[in-house]
Structures are given as C-alpha cells and as structure tokens.
Symmetry: C2
Subunit: 336 residues, 2 copies
C-alpha cells in the first residue's frame, strides 16, 4: 500500500506538506499543492483512516444505532443520514439490533464505545436505564431521531399535533364513529411515539365531544399484517363499526384498506382511512395521510451533528420537523 511517505519522497517534500496539501489546509503554495495532488493521484495514494484517526482523534465516521433496518421509517432516515454524511466526506457505521434483543448489550458496550465514530445517531429505540446512561456518558455528540429519549437532543415531528390533525380531518368530514389502530413497541422499539399519538387521538375525540368505543381501538404494531388483523376485528360487525379509522402508521392503514377489500366495504364510501407517514406506497394506494419526511429528518439530524463536530456551538433547541396533511382518495364524507 502506498503511504504518505511514498508521495513525500517521490516529490522531495515532507509528509507534513503532503498531508496539508491533500486536506486543503492553508499554508501550502498553490504550485506545491497541485504537484502533491497530482502525484498522489498518480501513485494511487489513499490515506489510511486508521492512521489519520489515531493521530487526529477524529474518525470521520458517524454511527447510526437503530432497532431494525428493514422498515420504511428506519431505512428512509438512514438514507437521509447517509446522504448528508457522504456529502461531507464522512462514513456511516451501522448498528442494527436486527429486530431482536440478541447481542444488544454487546452493541452498546463493544462496538459503539470502540472509538470508531465521532458521533452517534439513535433511531426510535426504547432504551434501558443502563443503555441510556451509557449514551449520556458518551463523550461524542449524540442525537436521537424519531422518538425522544430523556436527556438527549431530539429530531422529529410533533406527534401529538400530527395525530390531532389526522383525527380532525376525519371529524371535519362529519365522522363521529372513529376507530384507532395503535402502533406498538415490539423488540425494543420506542413506544413513546405510539403512545403520544394515541393520547392525542383520545384527547381530540374528547375535545370534540366524541365517544371512544374501546373495541374500536386496536393494536397493530405499526405494521401491515398486524394492522390487517386488527382491522378485520374492528370492522367485523357491520351493525356496529366505525365509519373512519385513524392509523398511527400508513402500513397499518394499508392493512385497513386490505381488510375493507376482503370484507367488501367501500372506501371511502362506507369507510374513511387515514394514516401517518406518507409511505412510498401511500400515493399509489390513494391513502390520505399525514406526511412526514424521514429522509429529511435523517439528513437534518446528521447535519447538526456534523456542524458540532466542525466546532459550531451545540444546538440546544432543535426545531420540530414539519408534517402535513395529504388528502387522497381514502377519506370522504361520513355515510348517512
């Protein structure tokens, strides 16, 4: 492997000059710089991140810790983080819990603390107390995306307002019999978010003087399959079913749409459905939803961390991310 010394020797300059020239630091004459760049290119020199990291204390990499990759929200945030990091010349080290708790302790202890990263983004994780304190003890800057963790800065939408907007959209259409498909916290995934949304649903209903039927509130684990099962249950009785369903995620809403097809219920004629997310499939499915943009959230959160690593004062207050009602064909006036 060709090293910085090869480049230096071949040019008759010092390694310090090569280092400075290649990193764009000041104090190098333009002509030297271009000679260095050319020679480095010519020799196929690529700096060793290990050596650079050891010497400088900066690894030029950020870590992302998430409960699972294969899930729309998480992979979208990851995409946004990666985009931002890539543009800044940073690498992204991934830590997934893989949908289970296996090796969870090792992830926290071994990998993350292994000084491989300059900062850490944590996505929607439900942390144990000891994990939370490991996190707080981390000397590197940290940020949470998607589900607040006490004591750590947080990027995300206003879940309460998002849920309220969804329910009020239904109420605005005249619905009074409104069910709710709840998200969940399986496998260590954060359960603040579904809880906040559920609370907002209840409060909004109450604020409008509407009654909640306990059998219309069903658990769907944020997912299609569980959402479908929940919806089949909620909509089983034609004589006593809601005219609208608010789902804490679009995937569950797809489950409701599917259930409607299976049960022969017309959407939106007999049933209105609204979700939260604006999942990739929501547009082609014609699903009304509250849009959030996880890609932007990831990009934004990574940007803050990068700014701090570049010496900017730590952002204390992080603006709430936007959400927006997107009306499509799955919601309509209450049937009479």
């Amino acid at each position: 492997m060709t090293s910085i010394e090869d480049v230096a020797k071949s040019l008759g300059v010092s390694t310090a000059t090569v280092s400075r020239a290649l990193r764009g630091l000041p104090g190098v004459s333009p002509s030297t710089r271009s000679r260095v760049e050319q020679e480095a290119q010519h020799l196929g020199y690529v700096p060793s991140s290990a050596a650079a990291g050891l010497a400088s204390g900066r690894t030029m990499a950020l870590g992302v810790l998430l409960p699972q990759i294969e899930r729309w929200y998480f992979s979208a945030v990851l995409e946004g983080v990666d985009r931002r990091l890539r543009a800044a010349g940073y690498d992204l080290v991934l830590f997934s819990l893989g949908g289970s708790g296996v090796n969870r302790g090792r992830v926290f202890h071994r990998s993350i603390l292994r000084k491989r990263i300059d900062g850490l983004l944590v996505l929607c994780l439900e942390l144990t107390d000891s994990e939370r304190s490991s996190l707080l003890e981390l000397e590197s800057p940290t940020m949470v995306v998607g589900g607040a963790v006490e004591g750590v800065r947080h990027v995300g939408i206003d879940d309460g307002a998002a849920a309220r907007d969804a329910v009020e959209h239904l109420i605005g259409l005249g619905h009074t019999r409104i069910g709710h498909l709840r998200g969940g916290g399986s496998f260590g995934i954060d359960f603040q978010v579904p809880r906040i949304r559920e609370t907002a649903y209840r409060r909004t209903m109450a604020d409008h003087g509407l009654v909640i039927h306990p059998e219309w509130e069903v658990f769907g684990d944020f997912r299609f399959k569980e959402g479908l099962a929940g919806a089949l249950q909620m909509l089983a009785d034609p004589g006593n079913r809601p005219t609208a369903v608010f789902c804490s995620s679009d995937e569950m809403a797809f489950g409701v749409l599917r259930a409607a097809v299976e049960l022969g219920i017309d959407v939106p004629g007999e049933l209105s459905v609204i979700g939260i997310d604006d999942h990739e499939f929501s547009d082609p499915m014609g699903l009304t939803t509250i849009r959030q943009s996880p890609v932007e959230q990831g990009d934004f959160a990574a940007g803050i961390l990068l700014d701090e690593l570049r010496g900017q004062p730590a952002a204390d207050v992080i603006p709430v991310q936007p959400h927006q009602l997107i009306v499509r064909g799955s919601t309509g006036p209450v049937p009479r």
Copy 2:
C-alpha cells in the same frame, strides 16, 4: 480515555499481556487473563479500533455498497449482513448511492479505498467499467449479492429458474394469455436480474408454445407505483387482456392487485397474479410468489467473507441460493 497502558500499569503487567489476554490469544495464564479482564472492565477500557487497525492491518469492519437503502430487497440484505457481522464482532460501514448517481465517483475512490474496511459486499449495482476495475483491484475480499458482476463472486438465486417456476405455475393452472411486468435498472441498479427474468419468461412461454403479446409486456421498474401504472395500461382493454400476470417483483405485483381493484377485476377469478420475492406484505396481501430470502443471502455472503478473513481458503464456487413457490390466493385456474 483510558488506554491499554492504564490497564497494564494498574496491574503491573505489560501492554502486550493485556492485549493478548483481552483478545483471547494463547500464552497467558488463566489467572493473569482473568485479572486483566476484570481490571479492564473495572476501568471501562475499550480498545481503540483505529490504533488496533493501524497496528494489525485489520479494521474489523466490512463495507456494504448499495444503490439505495430504502427498498425491500436492499434493506433486507443489509439486515442479514449486519446480523452476521455483529455476531462476529465486526462493524458494518455503509455506502449508499442514495438512488442517484451523485457523488458516485467519490464513494468509489475516497471512502471505499480508504482502508477503513477489510472486505466489501456489493449489492445489485450496475457498475461502469472503471468502477468494476476498481473493485477487482481491491486487495480485500469482495463479494456481490443479488446481481452478478463479471469477475466477482456472487451470491443470489437462480433468477432464470425462479422466473420459469413462476410462469409454469400459471401455465399449470391453464393460463395461456400471460403478461409480464418487467423490472428495471434505474439509477445504476443492476439490470442483469430483470433481463434474466424476462428472458426466462419468454423462453418458458415459447417452450410451451404460447404467444407473447408485446402490449402485455410492460416496464414497472420493480416498484409499486410504476407497476400500478403498467398494469393499468396492460389491463385497460377488457376484450383483450391477459388472464395472468407474471411480475418480476412483488412490489410490482402489488401494483397489479391495486389495478385490479381499481378496474373491478376479480383476483383470482378473472386475473391471476404472481410475483418474485415474498415481500413482507405478500403474505397479508395473499400474493402468490416465488420466495427468496435476502436476509439469508446477506448473512451467507457476509459469512463467506468473514471466513476468508479468518484465513480460510477463498470459496470459488458459491452455491446458488434457494427459491420456492409460495401459493396464496392471487393465482387460480384460468377463467373460461
């Protein structure tokens, strides 16, 4: 930060002994080893991967290069790779092209070659010649998952056989008017796979003496939205439409199912639909499909790379990954 020297001093042993003890190397007395382990734990010592990497030449990290994260197949493979790596104590460095070609050159040149990783997994990428040669020049072991790249070892299913099995399932049900929704190679994503599947479709049709209607072969880019658009077009004419559609991916098949709902076509009464993948949504959607398991593929590919890094002879022939017909409700006998 506490270093290996802190541990050594506090115990009155050499750093070499600490290093050996903690890495489980032979030549350390059991009692010394346990004292070291205890003290390391006590002091909260975590080795620096940069220092270890610099000294040993091994980074204990593998890279994954993919066109995009936010897509079922890719995120599932990633999950599998991560699972395997995590279990082996390796870290995973992620390189996504983010669905576009931006910064593509930099990814190849800068990050990947930056000696941050001991090996590289490449997913379904359509590489330029120069990228391919960069890859072949990489001194570290490399493996391709999901779409073959000439000259690089490859993990994946037999796409031709998978497509044939799908089409023959339809033929077995009596269908003769069979359309095809083609995948695509947008944004540098591999286009071998969709091409192989399409070729197998044509050949299977021909082998059974069946005619292909050009207007029944439509591009769907592997996706729901495009699949829906393609299906609406393919199924537009009630007097002249296929009775079955073979889709190169489940997501496109969802598009066909959606189109059927929109057009009032009964599935499987009037139209049979089959995909490839066994996407997470396929079971709840009742979609007949050819199952492949990207999680297993990622796990398997990572395992081979890890074995080689541990000194096992390079695997030259890599077994083809299995696929399997999963019959659900979206296919049925041809209507008469």
